[in-house]
Amino acid sequence: MATATNRMLGHLGDSVERLEDPPLVTGKGRFVGDINFPDQLHMRIVRSDHAHGKIKSVDTSAAEAVPGVVAVWTTTDIDDVPPIDFREGSDPTLALFRQYALARELVRYVGDPVAAVFAEDPYTAEDAAELVTINIEPLPVLINADDDPQDFKGKATTEAAVVEQGYGDIDETFASAYKVVEVDVKVSRHTGVPMECRGAIGRYDEARDVLEMYGAAKVPHRNRDTLCRMLNRPASGMHLFEGHTGGGFGIRGELYPEDVLVCVAAMRLRRPVKWIEDRQEHLMAANHSRQQRHIIRAAVAEDGEVVGLDDELYLDQGGYIRTHGTRVANMTTGTLPGPYRFPVYRSICHFRLTNKTPAATYRSPGRCESTFVRERLMDAVAVAMDMDPIAVRRRNLISLEEMPYGRALDVLGDSVEHDPGDYAGLLDQGLAQIGWDDLQKQLAERRANGEMVGAGISMFFEKSGLGPSDGAKIFIDNSGFIEVVTGGASIGQGFETAMAQIAAEDLGTDYRRIRVVHGQTNRIDYGVGAHASRATVLTGTAVSLTAQAVRAKALDMAAELLQTTADTLTITDGVVHSKDNPTGPSLTLGEIAEALMPTSKLLGGREPYLKGEEWFHIDHQTYPYGHHIAVVKVDPDTGGVEIEKYFIAYDIGRSINPMMIEGQLVGGLAQGVGGALFEEFTYSEAGDPQAVTFADYLMPTLKETPDPEILLTEDFPSIRTPLGIKGAGEAGITGAAGAIASAIDNAIGIPGAVTETPVSPQRLKKILSEHGK
């Protein structure tokens, strides 16, 4: 029998090493590219090289004649497959704008899938794909979402929706304002770029009538449900499997045309079908994001209070509306006020299609864009009112006394209700830690000596833990090994480790003795996956509740066997023993599991097995908060920007694993720096994408990414979750562009200079020369 003297690892709040890492760092990972089935075919997509046009004809005969080619499909071969539906269910107002798996009648962006080649090997598939000729009659190309909308299929315009949110009387507020401050700000088109491109393998098991898809990520259960709806299959006959995933960021794991095609092809061709995306495809086919232009104005009172906020924005959705529907528009308009009070508010989003790659969510969707816009406006208010930028923010922050603070705004079907938090208090802590006043003096001195250096701040609130519910199952076998089965997903964020730590807390065991299952639709009926910073909040809480139930069951059984009462017992390192006498009579969890087997004579009236399943229902999302501070140096001759120092303050509520949270913040910041300074999908007037390789789409490398100082506080555990957990996935990116833009303005001494991201050297040089610098 084990003794309870070993040190157990991995309880809540411990920065333990990740369970995921040993296979990943020893080359034993199993990514979609590593998965193969006997007799599999390889799919290659033939994509449109026109941004907009009518498909006159598609000639597949030459491709079909290539030895090794099994089939070449166009949309007529799958005319019974409906367009890809929305994750949250059908929406008749948006249905017209959905994308077919293969383009029907029209192509709407360069990269739009037109034909699919299925061949014995990927080389043959690519050779044959070149022989497919597509005859397109070009149509006018719409590149800018703020240009006039065009016709859409003779049934609508490209303004697919207008999403409006707000409260209070805008007209009256602005009419009586002391001052009105307006900015016109653009966020460039960019997106999350996982290390691993997409991939999917469809396999149809005819013997059992089960259709399987490997390579799922992010939301396997939701995609299973959508595929069932589209392909008219029962959930029990359609399963998705997630392997190792090289990053998600919101874009990986949505349901794309290629996923549908491998599933349909596997059924019809009666062979497994594998598709692996290449990087060039990825940069024109996977979801883009972010592109918005806001014209936003603040009504300001004499003391610097922003009494009204009025925003009109143009969201560039690209060629079609994909699985998210208008989710980004909803989140942008729903979170734009951020951590400030803004008693009167309106945001009108023109949700418009263009002839570019379809757009959807990317890490911190809506918040990243709106935080940049709002923080640019707050800096402009400070200048207009001749106030310090920190002071103007303080004047408008929601105070602790007002918490929880509700607004008549909708974010993903949930009315915004700020968790209690001390926004001003965290600001004080952050400014003290970074030595803000001394920093200002040092920077002023350096500027006086001719250097272009400056600091900027960006404040934000985040949202996490989108409900309504999630469940988890825990099973302990008679060797004492623990399996936690979830419908969560692991996209690289450390999900397994976090869940194991949470379960270990109540099961009194080392986290390394726990196996965490995720992303397998045949193991659990329901799952929320990994998005919207919800996995740890929602799934983690469900795991915690389940672990508590299993603990209670274990102690109940043990109490009978040890002839005592459950309340006198505890679990240490997988051993149940008396709280008062750790070296006295004891039982391992395995022994207890044995006593609970269905055939056990000790079972009594209990349900068999040492297992449990519990659910967690959340009534509102949680709203963590923080701020970013950037210090930059601008080279006036080249327009180059160097980030000298970076600081992130964030209130997480309660840390499960601080090391992993810091990892989330640092990784998010790298992407934030990318959006602020480097990454941009540009297009020619004709709609040709100009950034389809890593030579043109500039991801920041280690050398461009600052090593931030992080202040992670647990001052305000969420009132929405029993453990107080708030999400961590997105706070590293949300504030980045705002802080960097503000610091650049400060460095070059031109208030409001940065109105557009990314701030490329060429753009910055132009700003400098226009101002005679």
Partner: protein
């Protein structure tokens, strides 16, 4: 992103290599050295050679020696071999200062000096070095050897004076005298990226005046070259801000900058002035 079909040849002698090249060049046969540019281009199917003649097994091509006052760099010498000085004196240090700017560490282990020169990307550091320091290219074909001065070698983007049946067997860079000073400057968006503009300058002093100035610019135009107008502005001057600015402005005025979707001509011109000035300041310091 799978290359189109090709036939692979692996000669072991120079004679065999150039014979294969003579045979297959008319049918788009190409030399494969480090493959760091050619292979990705093939993966994109922008290049689809029918024959690849891999020279990595040709023993004679790895030489890196000083002969007759020049550093001779064989066709399979890797970038990484310049991480430490490849020869004594100023030139060895100059090449070591430059090499760290070439792409990334793993690429430098495989990519070759001569491969870069033959590929002739306008933003190649080695092409600019070859142009600035008046290197001589040794072209070898089945019918013999031909020496090509750098000033005639680089024609335009990825186009050189090499004939299709010629292997760039060797590049010879004249050694630099001990009193030569140099400065190198490159600007790109990210570490390891292709230069938006770059420059290499060298000069010597005689009685306090600048003599024998070389000012090469790369990345900005369709090919790297020495900028005669800038060198003229510098020759005979006393090193200092005034002379350096005059040379920098002359270089910026003399170039015909490339434009692409990300970078306009004006930005490249201004940037070139900055880089030339800074390189001259480096050289003087």
């Amino acid at each position: 992103m799978k290359p189109a079909a090709f036939e692979y040849h692996a000669p072991t002698t120079v004679d065999e290599a150039v014979a294969l090249l003579a045979e297959h060049a008319p049918n788009d046969g190409r030399i494969l050295a480090g493959g760091q540019s050619l292979v990705p281009t093939m993966a994109f199917r922008l290049a689809r050679p029918n024959h690849l003649i891999d020279i990595n097994n040709v023993a004679d091509l790895g030489k890196l020696t000083v002969e007759d006052g020049a550093l001779c760099i064989g066709a399979t010498v890797r970038h990484a071999q310049f991480h430490t000085p490849a020869c004594n004196g100023v030139l060895g240090h100059l090449l070591t200062d430059v090499v760290g700017n070439i792409a990334h560490y793993p690429i430098r282990q495989r990519g070759t000096f001569c491969g870069s020169v033959a590929h002739s990307d306008p933003a190649s550091e080695w092409c600019m070095v070859a142009a600035t320091l008046d290197a001589t290219m040794v072209a070898q074909s089945a019918s013999g050897e031909r020496l090509i001065p750098a000033a005639e070698f680089f024609e335009t983007v990825m186009t050189t004076n090499l004939n299709e049946d010629e292997l760039l067997r060797e590049v010879r860079i004249p050694m630099l005298s001990d009193d030569t000073v140099y400065g190198f400057q490159e600007f790109n968006r990210r570490a390891g990226d292709f230069a938006i503009s770059m420059t290499l300058v060298t000069y010597r002093l005689e009685s306090g005046k600048i003599t024998d100035p070389h000012i090469g610019v790369g990345g900005a135009e369709d090919r790297p070259r020495r900028i005669a107008e800038a060198e003229a502005a510098l020759a005979g001057q006393t090193p200092g801000d005034e002379a350096f600015r005059a040379a920098a402005d002359a270089a910026a005025a003399a170039i015909d900058p490339m434009e692409d979707h990300a970078t306009n001509a004006q930005y490249r011109r201004d940037l070139t002035a900055t880089l030339v000035r800074r390189a001259l300041e480096n050289a003087a310091s």
